[in-house]
Homo-oligomer: 212 residues x 2
Amino acid sequence: MNDKSKKVPDVVIKRLPRYYRYLGELLNQDIKRISSNALSEKMNVTASQIRQDFNYFGGFGQQGYGYNVEYLYGEIGDILGLNDGDTMVIIGAGNLGKALASHGTFERRGFKLVGIFDNSPDVIGTVINGREVMDVKGLEDFITRNRVDIGVITVPRAAVEETVEKLVKSGVKGLLNFSYAELKLGHDVAVENVHLSDPLMTLSYKIKQSKE
Amino acid sequence: MNDKSKKVPDVVIKRLPRYYRYLGELLNQDIKRISSNALSEKMNVTASQIRQDFNYFGGFGQQGYGYNVEYLYGEIGDILGLNDGDTMVIIGAGNLGKALASHGTFERRGFKLVGIFDNSPDVIGTVINGREVMDVKGLEDFITRNRVDIGVITVPRAAVEETVEKLVKSGVKGLLNFSYAELKLGHDVAVENVHLSDPLMTLSYKIKQSKE
């Protein structure tokens, strides 16, 4: 359905998870249809932007009476690959690793956590959310044997390089990077860098604006 | 310096923290100047987009030989309000709250953590990163007395509404919301909603694309 001749801009891709989340909420409220205006208002994006966004993926056949919520939710989920059952491991069982391991939303979105790794003897063998933390020494073997799709990196900065090398070598397809380092890899490994201080800086900007 | 007649689009605002981070790295490497092309390549944004972005704030006087890194870093920091010394409290001392309380980058960006709150007797009084967790019953009084700017919300979904109400009533200027709920408030309280599963969904999209 994705027209490969049109490269989808990053800003559009970044909006897909928001559409998906919002449509999921509508589904929970048993809402079957939504007009592009109502969707626009909720998403804080113009109705014409929404149509443009959806046109990258074939348009989702909006009619006069709006979008079919369940259909749209399913299509966007497919586009996002949420029905592919991607598996993931978390490397680094500190507070952030623990928080992510216990983050129910990941599972609800279709991702399967299959392992948590750390290098500290004090942490290896402890149990997080019903799962025993494994020794990072076994990481490559584990990934290869289980064909793990995604590595979630929450290790300290000094350990990032080695961790990334191991993950890439053993064949993960994507990295979700919470370390401070901004990773850029070759085309065969996708990367999303998450910087927790970015939204705080954006908030600071908004606060400053509201004061002026 | 901000030309108030032009409303700065959200996508531009969202790029400011990225510019700031990247310029900070250049500074650490003692790099004094950068061409708009080099900046463009690193940021994955076209050079003309960068000029457009900067024009919202007066342009930063790029000359033939590029941008002055230190000047640009300082200006963007000012625009982001990072020199205002904003104070913040974290509500919810679970794994995510602990991770954020120990997240050195917040402090490096100029934000001051002044308190951590929880409602659980098991957690109140424990020490996180040198700071004693306080009873959430004292939250409003604490915020009012200390004129706290920002509330960081990491409480479970069921506690969000009450927490937000307390924060707003006691006069915080901004909320950084990590709970699943998508908050929208009036004009006097700025909000940034952070959804940790969004980057994972974006990553999933990229993985799916690379397979096709």
